[in-house]
């Protein structure tokens, strides 16, 4: 097993952990943190993939940089939205109304 494989598998494992968190944790901030863990996993995988040739491939780095920018802004927006939701409803979770059960 090479270092690349180790990083790659860790990335996939992080993605799965994050995904598990998003699906099971009701608290919105925990969901957002889990999302960030999942995206860190994907980014790690991509960085690892950059080492598969003789010399490092610059493209995945560019992609990961773009991805991090998107991820940061999305998280910032999501935290802001969660704060608005808290102000409007006093809730920190997404309550499920009966009619949403579909």
């Amino acid at each position: 097993m090479t270092v690349m494989h180790l990083f790659g598998l860790t990335g996939v494992a992080l993605f799965c952990i994050g995904l598990f968190g998003v699906m099971t944790k009701p608290h919105l901030l925990k969901k957002l943190l889990s999302l960030n863990i999942a995206s860190a996993g994907v980014f790690l995988l991509m960085v690892a993939l950059a080492s598969r040739g003789d010399r490092p491939d610059p493209v995945p780095h560019a992609l990961v940089l773009t991805g991090i920018v998107i991820s940061v802004s999305a998280t910032a927006y999501a935290v802001g939205l969660a704060a608005r939701l808290h102000r409007a409803t006093g809730m920190v979770t997404l309550e499920v109304k009966p009619e949403d059960d579909a």
């Binding site: 969901k31 999942a38 995206s39 994907v42 995988l45 993939l49 992609l63 939701l85 409803t89």
Partner: protein
Amino acid sequence: MWTGQQPEVWQVAGPMIAAAMTFALGSRGRKTLVGVVIALMGWSTLGTIVKLIGEGPYLHVIGGWVAPLGITWRIDGLSAVMLVLTTLIGAGISVYSLGYFGTSSREQHNETYFWPLWLFLWGSLNAVFLSGDIFNWYVTLELSGLAAVALITLSNKPDALTGGMRYLIIALVASLFYLLGVALLYGEYGILDLGGLSKAIEPTHLTMVAMSVMTIGLIAKAALFPLHFWLPPAHSNAPSPVSAVLSALVVKSGFYILLRLVIEVWPAEMTHALAQGLGILGGAAILWGSFLAIKQQRLKRLIAYSTVAQLGYVFLMFPLMTIGWDTDTNWTSRAFAGGIYQVVAHALAKASLFLAAGVLIHARGSDDLEGLRGLGEKLPLTVTAMALAGISLMGIPPGAGFFAKWMLLTTAIYSQHWSWAAIMLIGGLMAVGYLFRIYRRLLTHVDHGTFHQPSRIMEFAALGLAGLSLLFGLSSMPLLYVLRIGMPEQLTNYFWGMM
């Protein structure tokens, strides 16, 4: 001038520049700006199509930076049809919104944010339809997703915030799934752009994994059953023009990428199983979405569930396309045309329906289905718009939806796949069932309840889009003529013969 030769640039640049400008403009300037944007987009779309017909499919390399670090756009028949769709619906929604916002001071506040976000969403949707590489799709999907969430939550009402939040989380998770697949593909092949990928791709296990995770991400974005649960709360609680664009265009962007991958990238050996799976989910979406639409008590929720059902028809195109893939029949191209036409028909009709719903809700001040009683007498134009849009959704001639269902049904019947045909016919009847729940209340004769006269411009926008859904049904050739340009021969052989 260089922009004259590259009209496609304005598809993205136009709305985005305008989005930035709205902050600087007052309400009068905003009206002018909307007019300019609509004219610009109309000109740009026409120019793109003329160029496409003249030169055939072509690439646009942004800023001269070539792939993989630069961004390349691809213009062919399929992307051109989607551009036509965004232009028509974008114009309708923009005109409508001039009337929708600004009637009270609180909405004035919303309007300040609505315009930049909406124009930004318009631009990023066009970017999705123009992009030609798999990573760029990730970026554009995120752009449109974030703009869409911000638009949903404009009203700051608890329901809208909850619906928007749920949509945001689903969208982000879906994007990560998609990005994971992109990473795997790049790791294996070292290519991001579609043309190169389609040549290099091989039916390996890794490709299979990439295909699976990307598909999961994309069907969540496209709200295919069973990943549709986020759609009704998000779409029904947004402001009406936003609901219209979400149901008409935003969910289609996920579908568009999925379709591109199926017809261009995935190895033929693997698409068969994928297509069957998508078809089964599509069939389930038709039945389940229609069933829930029939049960709803609120107008916009009913329409939102109808979106779930109508998207099911779109996904039926996948199994029907693969049936004839390796034969010398024209079934593949029939199913392709039917599916794309269903996208067009549903987008126009559903946008019109949501816009009309916005008029009714404005008039009555409530979203309750029972509150619609008697409105038919007061708002005949809006009711006409709803009726015309409904004709298309129900699949009754001469609506555009009829053409779509005709193509899909004939494919199913010619190839003797009776179960698909039966589901489509039952789905059509169920559409009648839920739509007439609206109509019968509108036609009820009572005279009570509050009534505010809505702006006429809103009614005309809804009617215009509904009229277009009939027009495209009466004359299907122009769109098919554009659609076939630059598409694989297998997808268009049926149409070459008749033009």
